[in-house]
Symmetry: C2
Subunit: 362 residues, 2 copies
Amino acid sequence: MRVSPGGRPATGYDIVLQAGVLRETAAFLTDRLPDCRAAVVVTDGNLRDLAAPLTDALRGVGVASALHVVEPGEKSKSLESLHGIYGTLLDLKADRRACVIAVGGGVVGDLAGFAAASYMRGVSLIQVPTSLLAMVDSSVGGKTGVNLPRGKNLVGAFHQPAGVLVDPDVLRTLPDREYHGGLAEVVKYGVISDAAFFGWLEENAGAILDRDPAVLVPLIARCCELKAAVVAADEFETTGVRATLNYGHTFAHAFENLAGYGVLSHGEAVSVGMTCAARLAVSRGMIPPDVLTRQTALLERFRLPIELPAAVEAPPDAVLAAMRSDKKNVAGALRLVLPVRLGEVRVFADVPEEQVTAALTP
Amino acid sequence: MRVSPGGRPATGYDIVLQAGVLRETAAFLTDRLPDCRAAVVVTDGNLRDLAAPLTDALRGVGVASALHVVEPGEKSKSLESLHGIYGTLLDLKADRRACVIAVGGGVVGDLAGFAAASYMRGVSLIQVPTSLLAMVDSSVGGKTGVNLPRGKNLVGAFHQPAGVLVDPDVLRTLPDREYHGGLAEVVKYGVISDAAFFGWLEENAGAILDRDPAVLVPLIARCCELKAAVVAADEFETTGVRATLNYGHTFAHAFENLAGYGVLSHGEAVSVGMTCAARLAVSRGMIPPDVLTRQTALLERFRLPIELPAAVEAPPDAVLAAMRSDKKNVAGALRLVLPVRLGEVRVFADVPEEQVTAALTP
Ligand SMILES: NC(=O)c1ccc[n+]([C@@H]2O[C@H](COP(=O)([O-])OP(=O)(O)OC[C@H]3O[C@@H](n4cnc5c(N)ncnc54)[C@H](O)[C@@H]3O)[C@@H](O)[C@H]2O)c1
Ligand SMILES: NC(=O)c1ccc[n+]([C@@H]2O[C@H](COP(=O)([O-])OP(=O)(O)OC[C@H]3O[C@@H](n4cnc5c(N)ncnc54)[C@H](O)[C@@H]3O)[C@@H](O)[C@H]2O)c1
Ligand SMILES: [Zn+2]
Ligand SMILES: [Zn+2]
């Protein structure tokens, strides 16, 4: 699969989606980046065994390499971790032709991606996403970055990878909660841009839950295609097209802010958020109730919540305030991505706040 | 003057070169960035009085603004300073339409430029260079970045400004040593790309030393044009054209490394470096001795050294080792930019080391 961000073929790159492709990383690197002499493999502690063999393989093809392992979890997406990766690159005497290889979920991808974007004003990046979310979402589109103590993803760069290697085999070890969370984004692609894909998900829900490789490959491929198409239309998030990927997310970010750390995963928050968004669209008469019903059934089938756990205190006013402070809003007006039919969404900036709070509960 | 990096008009920006233009910054911003509602003015302690009025002017046109002052000097080009600027942006609730305004020399420009490149994956940047070096060199070309404890400019991004405002009046307060250092880069442009400009510098050397506004405007304009032309041919330093700007610099970086902190300014090191490079070209029969003589005379006229101060211990082997570790070298081979006539240089990767060391002394 070839991705051309912003429709510019010169910066296009390949997504290779194939069981076992993780083991081909060194060969891919020498093929695509023949001048590269040094590579740092960044991963997190949970994936050390998966990533470690790559450094040997790289040395085998004449590329000096080092493994850089960060703590698993969002806290590693920090300026401090970034500094650590720069140190490992310097230890390798990495020059501008060096490569950073991110083996992990979105945390490792975003962190290592920004290290690649900024070390010596930019070196090559190969993404090897290992979580479902990273495969279908974060590894496509070129967004990289780290958090600041005062907020998420506040620092970063757009930096397209030299290639993305997706090995569905590695999903076997992904914890259930992470896998189901990734499926929330998968459902999102169906609702925002592909009703036929949504139907395919409904038909294959059992095999998907079983992580059957026969369905995982087409599933991941379609999500990457759908995301890549959006990115191609709006590489730098300037035309508004990319905002459609935010379906369910303005609600979700508010829920994540209000819930305590670890109570609600991102995917779970998105699942509840899409439910609120679809409910809002129904209440405005924009979609028939059937779209909400089908979306709810699929999310529940994928073991995702459709309302907030009782433990989360989220009075409507607090939700609204948190939604208003979402950084995707322009000039303080609440911008919501709402479905206009299954497979199509639009951005609305004029939704009355009473409608929004009414949509928070069934 | 309009600059189109990489020849792409869509990303072009204006350099406005005019006495008093500093005071027009707020008007420029509202004209070019009508959506901007928040701007951070970054400067250093020596320039506080120059920069402070801008924040009032910005508030006057409805843009929330803050002054962020760093310590003068290279040490402020750090990840820590960067973090501080992010904090000021967050205090202003700056969103993606925000602007960073760099009022200062190359240190402030590089630091504030990288803050703009990375905050929320990139906000707008206006450069208001105040040192001669920043006016003729660092504010043109889009390079931004910070140092790491282990080396200079190791982290950064290419980020083109929305505009560059050059006010020659502010040069009045620039310390002599900084002014003369900037002239080393000015002489460089003549040697590498414009013999007529070199002749003009010789004719107007007196007025230039007096900082006569009547010569400063055409001087700065020509340097910006010459640098912009090189950058347009090689925006991301990939084709090798941009390497010509490195004339004298491989020597200079070695001298700066060997000299203690503060002994040799960058411009002084470049002046000695260009002298060595021209001498080397003469010894190889590439240029007549006359080119070296004229370059030497002009550098001396501009109060620049043409050999290392006695205090700097620089045995030839140490110089060579330092030159070899310059990050502009590819695969360890020494790459030198040498004149082939006044107004033209080429990159040479095959100069015998004995010739290099011989060129270190007259
Ligand atoms: N760049 C983008 O466009 C983009 C898009 C969406 C999300 N994100 C970012 O992605 C991050 C979330 O990504 P994530 O959900 O992958 O989180 P993550 O990277 O923290 O991974 C989740 C957990 O799963 C583990 N894991 C990953 N792959 C595994 C495997 N194959 N086997 C066993 N364990 C495995 C990880 O060690 C981690 O503990 C957030 O920081 C978010 O901001 C970025
Ligand atoms: N980005 C690029 O393309 C590029 C190119 C060349 C150099 N640089 C960088 O530029 C930096 C050097 O820049 P610099 O020489 O301007 O140093 P600088 O920014 O430290 O300024 C030199 C000194 O002059 C003072 N000063 C500046 N303008 C003044 C004025 N009008 N009146 C009084 N004092 C004034 C400053 O406060 C400082 O003390 C280095 O970090 C170098 O790496 C970047
Ligand atoms: Zn998401
Ligand atoms: Zn220089």
